[in-house]
Symmetry: D2
Subunit: 367 residues, 4 copies
């Protein structure tokens, strides 16, 4: 515990690197919704390693199977169980590292917490854990898209010290993002980023980065003050993704440097309702969506697995030099793009279902 996320759209994930499979159970998926594996597979494919020279070439098909909850292509309202088989189920080739907790990995803390850890080291802290999240979140995305027209688009906005400017947040789409292997929609900056990743690979080193995300066409009213405010649930969701170190929404840390007169978003008439002139709030006020685009950024540290020899100690405290073999991603942010999108979708779908409980509240209040 806790591998369950959400109140009404409740996702439970399971699985680690070398067991039989990884996946998720969605409890509370709306009924009577068309759903097949084809709705889920694309985001799994975008998450999959080996899509380009930029990521590890460990080839895994990661094909999802819907085990339950769907009949004749429609959801029954019952739990939707999703399974992706692990190709490599032998946890055997990690024995060399049995006695050495790898620096900035979870070996040490899992061993201390549970009194045991997966022989593969990665176990539940490995990137394969995210498959269940992505599969379940793809279902959430479909619900949001078909019910409200919600669009969720994430992209790489930073690799190491290279930073991309904000794109046009009203129009940025996944096509532009997937235009290049680093998933940065700014083509020339993408080229720089690719160079930076290649250099990290050549150096047997790794590099961190930033994923930015925008969610458009959200209904007004999502978010449950005070502890399940929209930004609070998003923050939890994002910081639960492996390797994340920070989250900011709207103006974020830059907003802390501003004055109120510059930061406030005045209201203005938009269509039949109200909108705001500026959007430093990032689409959230008082923890509740206000109808403007929601946008946020997530910081990812550089991957801990590097080929450069590292001086550290083993579990007994003896000095050792650790040299990682095998091939590993020098930069995870391109693959993190669908993870960020699908985790955002889980939060939004859950809060959208929660908000339905207030539908039809009597009018005539004190407004």
């Amino acid at each position: 515990m806790s591998s369950t996320f959400g109140t009404l759209f409740r996702v439970t994930t399971f699985g680690e690197s070398h067991c039989r499979g990884v996946g998720a159970v969605i409890d509370g998926c709306p009924s009577n919704m068309p759903l097949t594996e084809a709705d889920i597979q694309p985001q799994l494919d975008r998450r999959r390693p080996g899509q380009s020279r930029l990521s590890t070439d460990r080839s895994e098909a990661d094909t999802v199977t819907i085990l339950s909850g769907v009949e004749n292509g429609r959801t029954l309202g019952t739990p939707v169980a999703l399974l992706v088989a692990n190709k490599d189920q032998r946890p055997g080739d990690y024995t060399a590292m049995r006695d050495i907790p790898r620096p900035s990995h979870a070996d040490f803390t899992y061993q201390e917490k549970y009194g045991i850890r997966a022989a593969s080291g990665g176990g539940r802290s490995s990137a394969r854990e995210t498959i269940g999240r992505v599969a379940a979140g793809a279902v959430a995305e479909k619900y949001l898209r078909e019910t409200f027209g919600v669009e969720i688009v994430a992209w790489v906005s930073g690799v190491g010290t290279i930073t991309a400017p904000w794109p046009d947040m009203d129009t940025i789409g996944r096509d532009q993002v997937d235009n290049n292997p680093v998933r940065c929609p700014d083509v020339s900056i993408a080229a720089e980023m690719i160079g930076r990743v290649e250099q990290a690979r050549a150096d047997k080193d790794s590099v961190g980065g930033i994923v930015s995300c925008v969610c458009r066409h959200l209904p007004v009213g999502l978010g449950e003050p005070v502890f399940d405010k929209l930004e609070a649930r998003l923050a939890q969701a994002m910081l639960s993704i492996p390797a994340t170190k920070g989250f900011e929404v709207g103006s974020g840390f830059a907003g802390a440097r501003m004055s109120g007169s510059a930061h406030n978003d005045p209201f203005v008439k938009k269509g039949s309702g109200l909108g705001t002139v500026t959007n430093h709030s990032g689409g959230i006020q008082g923890g509740i969506s206000n109808g403007e685009p929601l946008f946020f950024r997530v910081a990812f540290k550089p991957p801990a697995t590097i080929g450069i020899p590292q001086k550290t100690v083993d579990f007994s405290g003896n000095d050792v030099v650790l040299e990682a073999g095998g091939r590993h991603d020098p930069c995870v942010v391109p693959r993190a793009v669908p993870i960020v999108e699908t985790m955002a979708a889980q939060v939004l779908a859950d809060l959208a279902l929660c908000q339905k409980r207030l539908a039809g509240h009597r009018s005539g209040g004190s407004r």
Copy 2:
């Protein structure tokens, strides 16, 4: 909903600006713990406005009463209910704003979500909501301090564009923090910050800021992968505080700019166990505390209430100019210090109790 936070140390808060009172119920407070109001009042006093010329002078004693769960100065293991009476219970003096959603406040979103909102505007999104959090978190702090020797210290590390360097995280204490009204332990930078706040007040404007926090002497093993990882729960807790826009732990957003070889924290023998040479991880690896100091930063936007006239529209979309009367905090970060500390304490106490379920796991695992 949801006004409940936590799994085993479960805090439910209640109350808004002008009702009879605000407070919290702690369900799951450990039994047989010495507890009186005197353990709780100090953090409420630090949170209270009117402590200095830097904050609003609306004077409220905010005296806490323990309603239940304690007998003869010891907790019974039953719910501990805490109440702070509201002095001003007349929601009458806000009628001028009934038709105007204040920019970057929660008036618009609350009205849309609930079909009603507190006449005072602030209601549940007001700063008074945080009283229940602080009171309950003060109990969590006591549990952590007496059980593990945990020390939690937050301070103001940024006001507008003025930033303080990291203090010595092994020694920084609340005495140093409370040395000056802006709660920045660096005395000369504190003076600059005070000037910046005074200027905002003179301008009838406001200014944002940063609160940093360190938690020392945590036991190893706190955090519940994958969705209740330590940093995920902290992120939720912090982003649920009013006016927050960002959270980062350890290296944070700066970590995203680094290479793995620079970011990794090699292990080293410390006492009878292992520690790390550096601490870019911020005391967390794989979502679980590793025994090193936990530190994080929280971004607060500038307060939305400003005296400067603002062009906006009313609920019907008509142009209006809004001018806030009364006195308001031009900068909330000094008062946010105990809120950040007590929310961190809630997270840590909850995860510490969760971890007790694994006590005595059989050894002899695959380590």
Copy 3:
């Protein structure tokens, strides 16, 4: 923990016999609902001891105050906190029993579980704990009544070996129930029951009983398979009331003796939809309400506090004879009537709000 009940209509209760007060926080109460103390007080009055010669004459006004969540007589959608002060806050007069765990009371188990217990013995296991439930449930009743026209009526159907036949479940109302102090709508059997209670009092003994309950005009669709089926949540709610030993719904234990051909409820056209000819199901099929009246019965053991001397042992195992002083209810079922009703209301309000998430599910399914 756990003193919180419900998913979307979430009630947290607090308080024990001799602390400052008892009460509840309702998180998730629908917004914009008219609500004052006058909606809550009647059920508290029905629950109160000292209403007649049949129950203990310890006089307590039990006046409820709404602390938060309501403004100008309407709910804000924020937590509704309810408080009833304890008149007698001195836990001093129970010292004689400090060393003796009273037979069939909770003294022994509380002491073992928590390492401490309320000096008064009763503490959180006392009947005063139910005040918070009743107050919160009265709000749930109002929501159900005004939204769906739901009617919930409980009555005493058994005292000792005296049993009343089922009344007309379509018409039985609280007026008939409150016609006599034992709250049995069958007047002549009520007289017998009263005699039985008087006899128990004269004998310094106590007697158990049965409370039956019917809920009419439920919407179809309430209940969340598989673990939050309507009957499962009702069973939990009822067995969480002090002194309960059994729950049965519809045909109950008698249904276990029947054949399927006799037990099955054939469908029939009713109005614009379907109903059933018989109702052995008790208004629930597959864990979901079917629109027929829901009815169930709850068994209460005889109160453990009796004046007759009891041979038992103290905490150290020494033989003692225990003789309870003071006056105590010889039979709790009349006062349990509003507790059963309000707990049922909590379950139904919660499930009704949960069901709203499915509103508007697309038609055209496989029916």
Copy 4:
């Protein structure tokens, strides 16, 4: 929702009659516990239909596979996912019933609640749903047995009007229970029961029954007042099993007929602690286990599927006569025995883990 049960030993089940598979995910399974499929299969085998002439001969192997959470035969502390494939995945042979809601089945309520239902009718309300419960509960049983020596034994104590007396609750074991196909340890009454089931089959009818259960060697202190009292959680667990109509613990409904002087359980010295002379409480006082045997009874209605023609209406309200084809269990209670045991185990394991949070509470309280 909600298909998740428990707080710290959290079981999520999935699957219906004709999807790819049924199963469960256990989140919070203690780490470092030896576990293989062989620990789980026996209870699944006992639950399986076709074990004798008394139940349906639809043959399904129901072989469980551990998908995750176990490595080298030991639990990792991560989610344990369990899968049992469905042999028959064609939901096609139920089309005749598409327009007719079967009496006392869940067809009508599922259709109304979700706007869709599984073509097979049974779907999630089918007996196959219980496979996930049994598999997960078998893991809970192992934890309880190895940690505390807990023994859980259920048996059939009633079929129709035939009732068996309580066996010796200190010694009754599964061997005695499995001695005959009706799972009643009293051999001569078992013969009568078998005759009653055979008669129901010959009549194309069905018959209800009672399952009784005892749990021995429980630690003192299990149960979380007030809403998660031990009996409350057991009641929820039992009433969530398909076809249940009642639950009683200890003296149960009979206790309601007793006087306090007869019902109270005086304390007595037992070993180094205290026990009770009698056990009308059924091992629970104040919602918390007291160390005496816990026992309870569960009522099951007769199966709704019968071969006798039934007059009912279709979804449009037209009169029809329904005649069920195929072979069906005339009596489910023998197969319900392992379901009751494993659901009890889930409750107890969860509460045992919850109680660990209180381990080491300081002594010196007010006892």
